[in-house]
């Protein structure tokens, strides 16, 4: 069983630049061909100052953020081989665009179990703010551990 003392554990705040080369690789991987996500002129044509990022891109920025320790693997020390992604929720408040520097901090919001501990759930919440301190998005992930 995962020690519940980890509820409330949090990372330091780290910064990550929103780079066009990484965004293009992401778009290639998901089959995204909408030029608004790939080309500055196409983005401007729909009223965007800079290239916006697709809806699940905040999770990519989180994955690539240079945290000293990964909350799930290094702090909770959950076994990757027994872990599945249970839920994912994004709330969007302000566009994340190429050229932004996004600051992320992640927190263990909850840990609970079902089926007498056969399944454990780790709820992770992340706040993503940009270089102007504007909250761009919140992310919630639920990891499921199969015991």
């Amino acid at each position: 069983m995962i020690d519940r003392k980890h509820i409330g554990a949090t990372t330091e705040e780290v910064s990550i630049d929103v780079e066009l080369s990484q965004l293009r690789l992401f778009c290639q991987a998901i089959g995204e061909t909408n030029p608004v996500f790939l080309d500055a002129d196409a983005a401007r044509a729909v009223g965007q100052e800079r290239i916006p990022t697709p809806p699940t891109y905040p999770q990519t920025l989180l994955n690539l953020s240079p945290f000293k320790k990964n909350l799930v693997l290094d702090v909770i020390e959950a076994d990757l081989a027994r872990m599945l992604h249970g839920e994912q929720v994004f709330e969007y408040h302000h566009p994340i665009q190429v050229g932004d520097t996004i600051r992320m901090r992640q927190t263990v919001a909850d840990i609970y179990d079902k089926k007498d501990g056969a399944l454990e759930f780790i709820v992770l919440e992340t706040l993503a703010r940009n270089q102007d301190d504007v909250v761009c998005a919140t992310l919630k992930s639920v990891a499921v551990i199969r015991n």
């Binding site: 690789l25 089959g31 909408n34 809806p55 990519t60 994955n63 994912q88 929720v89 919630k140």
Partner: protein, 139 residues
């Protein structure tokens, strides 16, 4: 890739279905690099087998990204206000994924007209893999 006129949208209307090509090992390698999710269970068969699976399988976030494409193709690149899913089943290699959505309600929130949708990703000729919902600006 023009977005549609959503001004006459009503409850019960459907999002155009987006169906992807079959997921290959290359798809998963690209997604590992593109998304920064390097979990070996998606790219290393020996690791997947040691974890009790017959083979590698797709990242859940890949199918969520496909659902995201369905939303932004339909309503525009920056129209999504909230987007959540529950991962209900694993997406195996070879799967083509169909993304569907239904408008449940039209609401006004913070001066925006929003469609509340229920969403679903399905392996073609297979199980439902993701169920979710979204709030999307339509005007």
């Amino acid at each position: 890739m023009s977005t549609q006129d959503l001004s006459t949208l009503k409850a019960g209307d459907a999002l155009p279905t987006l169906t992807t090509g079959p997921i290959t090992p290359l798809t998963l390698a690209l997604f590992a690099g593109g998304s920064g999710d390097h979990n070996p269970i998606h790219v290393d068969k020996a690791f997947a087998v040691s974890a009790g699976f017959p083979d590698v399988f797709a990242h859940g976030m890949l199918s969520m990204a496909y659902l995201g494409r369905a939303l932004t193709d339909w309503a525009g690149a920056t129209a999504v206000r909230q987007f959540g899913v529950r991962f209900a089943a694993i997406t195996p290699l070879g799967a083509s994924v169909a993304c569907d959505g239904i408008v449940e309600q039209i609401i006004e929130q913070e001066g925006e007209r929003l469609a509340k949708l229920t969403l679903r990703a399905t392996v073609v000729d297979g199980p439902v893999t993701l169920v979710g919902d979204a709030l999307v600006r339509i005007g």
